[in-house]
Amino acid sequence: MLTLRCPVCGIDADETELSPGGEAHLTRFGPDASDDDFHDYLFTRENPRGVHFERWRHSYGCGKWFHAARCTVTLEVFGTYSAQTTEPPAGIRAVIAEKRPGWSWRGLS
């Protein structure tokens, strides 16, 4: 059972306090989107073996959404951060780059 620190209220929350929300940093496609773009937005998800960015909600705590960067293989948590962002912040990326040399994601590293 994972523990993630909610960046909003600062609590180390047990997984039972949290609700998973799937992949983070999706771009919403709306009425003008092509069929392919909209299909990918709805259904296509990354399923990495390693570093992953996820949405979580502190459902049985402060109720706020946040993002977590963690390793799907070792369950190592590189950090949690605000949900109000479109990409992982530099601090999180630096932690990942240090622990997983050579890592990159959507042109970021």
Partner: protein, 1008 residues
């Protein structure tokens, strides 16, 4: 026979006899006994029957690894099956019965299976019960059910109480033996918070027992081991940062240092107050597993007979409980440790007739034994143990032979030792990997591949025998090192102390012995047990390998090796050694099966904890709940709420009540408790813009004072909720949701606000429980409100789809002129605390107008008569608003809303989608709910083609006939067509497609 010895017995109190019953035999044990030791003291070696062959089974082990001595414990509401006698502490009045036999333990019909054993080989069930198929249901399945399962399931509700307990600690130490205590002390010296848990009632583990064989050469820091245990315990008890708990088993290790512990508080004192078991939910930053090791049986023919016991167990019973497993004992071993058993028994006056040592030259303790006059034979094997319900003699031959007997000795007990296996379960639960240790012939934790925590570092630290250490000095050094490592990790500093100095009897290495004798003949291998509880023999594993099973996981399931309640604690290594040999590969190439929690079984009560009965799921009650109960409500669960389904009167059926409630509401006046409807306030400068995205309709154009019915879809386009939105002021909306939707629609709003449109200035609040809401419905609704007096509720002042604040009958309220029934209707919200008084005022004032409360079923019928959809009936997560003819509620002006793009996808605009229609049976009967309309022909899977289904169906008292709604392919274009619905009752129902609005199509009744 097994008896109580005049000497030894460090855990018993000879002055405190304890009476108990086993299979209705009255017996007496001593304070400090386990049920197992007390049974042995009463010469009760036979304790059960094996699962498959119903072979007689005796006590084989001393602790949690026991596979045989499983009993039904207690009776009535405290009956619990499959309790291990070895871990059951004796108490006065204990009642136990043996399992898996009929009619009696001594005489068992099922034992005939043993005669058939050559017809019941590995994989028997898979091979036998496949064909012919028709026999499965009436022959095979009943047979398997009859023979499945051990013990008796309790028939009554559990009389005991259980609870969960949460604990956070820096370091958790599992195991209170020498290693655990030392590791805890070292870790605690750094100031870290340390929790030490021990599954038995005693501290110190097995070291105090082992040194009994040779006290002169054994000491820690120059003192006896017992003294060291006492001093370490005293030091730990004196530290504020240390918590010590016995009878608390480390059941499982999970991600990020989460551990489940199982504390047995009341099992040994059944009449005590408080919970019986407690499930500890522990979060630890580092976990030290000082879980010791388990001795392995030896594989020789007849090793399952009662009287054959692990050598260490025989020593434990003697030293701890002064119980000798036999009067004439043969010891069989491949290592030095079993000599300790021979020496202890010999010194206590038991005749040790042979030590059969498989090693060519014996070991370092061989001379000690011989000096006592014990006959030791090396390079020897037990060829076969003979006996019926108990060992009677042993044949001895050459270990390198095939089973020729050189000698035969009479005895009544056999002590066996095949070496020791570290308890690596907790290390492995969360992904810790293992190394094969060739010298010790066991798997031990691989320090390079520990389970990893949130910080990316290993969080489990094995210590002592659990880490593959065997002699006392290295166990203590290893434990000290584990304590230092844990301290360093959690406190950033390790204590500046040294490991205790210890000395114990030196030992010679063991010889791996996986079969005795090494080349045993087939008839012997077919009598050589690996798994005692599940009756898996050496020959079964060899057969599996011969039939092509190479994976240890597959072999386990095929043979059931290690699948019994002991989960292979004794059989695991021996079984995979046999498999490896049969496959011609080294043991590490075969690997182990997966270790899964719990380490030993945990009671169902402990898992449930307090969550049973009314506490299992808290009930939500409206302010008028009590009134409904007093007035005969027939309840319907809706989410966590209970809503009145109807209010049947004396002598009235529920259906009759529903019919009366509908009729009365349409003719006079009905009152509905609508408090459970979701109420969400959406507020802020961007509230209108936000709701335009959430609803398919345009909400931003709604005028303050007005209401609008709205639909909410998800991004897939599917309808997820509906309700009336009221605009309170320029910046404020009140959104009504369905009863079941309040929480998840609120969450849905929060999600979009927090994760997509976080710069929009909007707040949402779920105020569902802040208000009681009452629907006042029917032709006389206005009259009753006017009678109570207050605000103007006339059609001019408060037209349909308007709302207003005011007072009625002196109650501050907000009145919504909305209708879900097609009647003149006011939904009136008052503060929750005023709800009951307002309800009572309406009931009292309504008496003159024929007011009656109505329930959810009358509500459903009235909405169906009007063709209004119900989320969850007409929708199921695959239905879009366009399917339901709700295009009028979808704004075409808006550039975007959630679901808009999805509703343009090809499948969503398919003209063949099933669409909402009304259905009228030809004969006026009620269509079965969920029935499918069948068309002509067959689909690609050769099934009848379906072309629609019933979504809502009722008897309408208003129309005096059955009415229904349904989704039908091309439905709205097929008005007047008759569809065929086969019912599950065998009848064929015919129904005509009609307009879904059955009643008052022009809305004359509501617009008055």
């Amino acid at each position: 026979m097994s008896t109580r010895l005049p000497t030894l017995g460090r855990l018993i109190d000879r002055s405190a006899p304890v009476k108990f019953r086993f299979n209705d035999r009255h017996m007496q044990g001593l304070q400090g006994d386990t049920l197992a030791s007390a049974l042995l003291a009463n010469d009760q070696m036979l304790v059960g029957r094996s699962f498959k062959y119903h072979r007689p089974r005796g006590i084989v082990a001393y602790g949690a690894e026991e596979p045989n001595a499983l009993v039904n414990l207690g009776h009535g509401a405290r009956l619990e099956p499959n309790q291990r006698a070895t871990t059951t502490e004796l108490f006065a009045g204990l009642r136990a019965t043996s399992q898996n036999h009929w009619p009696s333990l001594e005489f068992d019909i099922g034992a005939i299976n043993a005669r058939l054993s050559r017809f019941l080989p590995a994989g028997f069930y898979y091979k036998m019960f496949i064909h012919p198929r028709p026999l499965w249901k009436h022959v095979y399945e009943p047979f398997i059910r009859q023979s499945a399962g051990l013990g008796r399931a309790p028939r009554r509700a559990d009389a005991d109480r259980y609870e969960h307990f949460y604990h956070h600690t820096d370091v958790l130490v599992v195991g209170g033996g020498l290693a655990g205590l030392q590791a805890a002390l070292t870790a605690a010296q750094s100031g870290a918070r340390v929790l030490v848990i021990e599954q038995t009632a005693h501290w110190g583990g097995r070291a105090p027992v082992d040194v009994t064989a040779d006290p002169d050469r054994s000491h820690v820091n120059g003192k006896p081991v017992d003294t060291f245990v006492e001093q370490t315990l005293a030091a730990l008890r004196a530290m504020d940062n240390v918590t010590l708990r016995t009878r608390l088993m480390g059941a499982g290790v999970y991600d990020h240092g989460y551990v489940l512990g199982y504390e047995r508080l009341g099992d040994h004192i059944p009449d005590a107050d408080g919970p019986r078991h407690r499930l500890w939910r522990i979060r630890a930053r580092r976990i030290i597993t000082a879980t010791g090791a388990i001795e392995r049986p030896l594989s020789f023919a007849g090793n399952d007979l009662p009287g054959v016991m692990l050598a260490s167990a025989m020593r434990d019973y003697a030293v701890n409980h002064a119980v000798a497993a036999g009067r004439r004992v043969v010891v069989a071993t491949n290592n030095d440790d079993a000599y300790r058993t021979a020496i202890v028994l010999h010194d206590a006056g038991i005749e040790v007739v042979r030590i059969v040592d498989a090693r060519p030259a014996g070991g370092l303790l061989t001379d000690d034994a011989r000096a006592r006059g014990i006959r030791v034979e090396t390079d020897r094997a037990i060829v076969r143990v003979k006996g019926g319900r108990r060992v009677s003699k042993v044949q001895i031959g050459s270990q390198s032979g095939t089973g020729g007997a050189l000698d035969e000795v009479a005895c009544d007990a056999v002590a066996m030792s095949g070496g020791w296996s570290p308890v690596v379960h907790l290390w492995s639960h969360c992904g810790g990997k293992l190394l094969w240790d060739a010298a010790g012939a066991f798997f031990r934790p691989d320090p390079e591949r520990p389970p990893l925590g949130a910080d990316g570092a290993g969080f489990v630290l094995p210590a002592g025998a659990a880490n593959g250490e065997t002699d006392m000095a290295s166990v203590l050094r290893d434990a000290h090192a584990a304590g230092c490592a844990a301290a360093q990790a959690v406190a950033g500093t390790a204590p500046d102390t040294a490991a205790p100095e210890a000395a114990s009897t030196p030992e010679a290495p063991l010889d791996p012995v996986w079969l005795m004798p090494r080349n045993a003949r087939a008839d012997l291998r077919a009598k050589t047990w690996l798994d005692f509880q599940n009756d898996v023999k050496v020959s079964d594993v060899q057969l599996a390998a011969q039939e092509g099973y190479e994976s240890v996981e597959h072999t386990k399931r095929y043979t059931t090796l290690g699948m019994a309640t002991d989960q292979g604690k004794l059989s695991n290594i021996n079984g995979l050694a046999i498999l490896s040999d049969a496959l011609g590969q080294p043991i590490p190439a075969t690997g182990t099966t997966t270790f899964r929690p719990p380490y030993t079984p945990v009671s169902m009560g402990a898992i449930a904890g307090e969550a049973r009965g009314p506490v299992f799921q808290p009930l939500r009650r409206t302010p008028m709940h009590g009134w409904h109960a007093e007035n005969g409500a027939h309840w319907e669960p809706v989410g966590h709420w209970r809503r009145p389904y109807a209010y049947p009167r004396a002598g009235e059926s529920v259906h009759g009540a529903v019919m009366r409630e509908v009729t009365n509401t349409r003719a006079n006046l009905g009152l509905l408790d609508a408090s459970t409807l979701g109420k969400i306030v959406v507020k802020g400068p961007d509230a209108g813009r936000f709701l335009d995205m959430l609803y398919t309709n345009m909400m931003s154009t709604l005028k303050p004072g007005r209401c609008r019915y709205g639909l909410m879809c998800n991004e897939n386009g599917f309808l997820m909720d509906d309700g009336v939105v009221a605009r309170i002021d320029e910046n404020t909306f009140l959104c009504h949701t369905t009863t079941g939707g309040a929480d998840h629609i609120h969450a849905h709003m929060e999600e979009w606000l927090q994760t997509e449109w976080w710069d929009w200035k909007v707040h949402v609040a779920n105020v569902t429980e802040q208000y009681a809401q009452i629907a006042v419905v029917g032709p006389k609704a206005r009259q009753v409100l006017e009678k109570l007096g207050g605000m103007d509720v006339s059609a001019d002042k408060l037209p349909f789809m308007a709302w207003a604040d005011g007072t009625i009958g002196g109650f501050d309220c907000r009145v919504f002129r909305i209708s879900f029934s097609g009647e003149l209707s006011y939904e009136i919200a008052v503060p929750a605390g005023r709800g009951m008084a307002f309800w009572q005022a309406l009931v009292d004032a309504g008496a003159d107008f024929g007011a009656m409360p109505y329930g959810t079923e009358a509500l459903h019928i009235m909405r169906a008569e009007k063709g209004f959809i119900m989320i969850g009936d007409e929708t199921d997560g695959t239905v879009i608003p366009q399917d339901l003819g709700l295009d009028w509620a979808i704004s075409r002006k808006k550039a975007d809303y959630l679901g808009k793009r999805a509703q343009q996808r090809r499948h969503m605009v398919d003209p063949d989608r099933w669409k909402l229609v009304g259905l009228e049976t030809i004969d006026g009967s009620v269509l079965p709910d969920g029935a499918y309309a069948v068309g002509s022909g067959r689909n690609a899977n050769r099934q009848a083609v379906t072309e629609g289904r019933v979504t809502s169906t009722y008897h309408s008292p208003t129309l005096g006939r059955g009415i229904a709604m349904g989704l039908v392919r091309g439905g709205p274009d097929r008005m007047g067509e008759v569809l065929t619905f086969p019912g599950t009752d065998g009848k064929i129902y015919k129904a005509r497609i009609v307009d879904p609005v059955f009643f008052d199509k022009n809305g004359d009744k509501q617009n008055v």
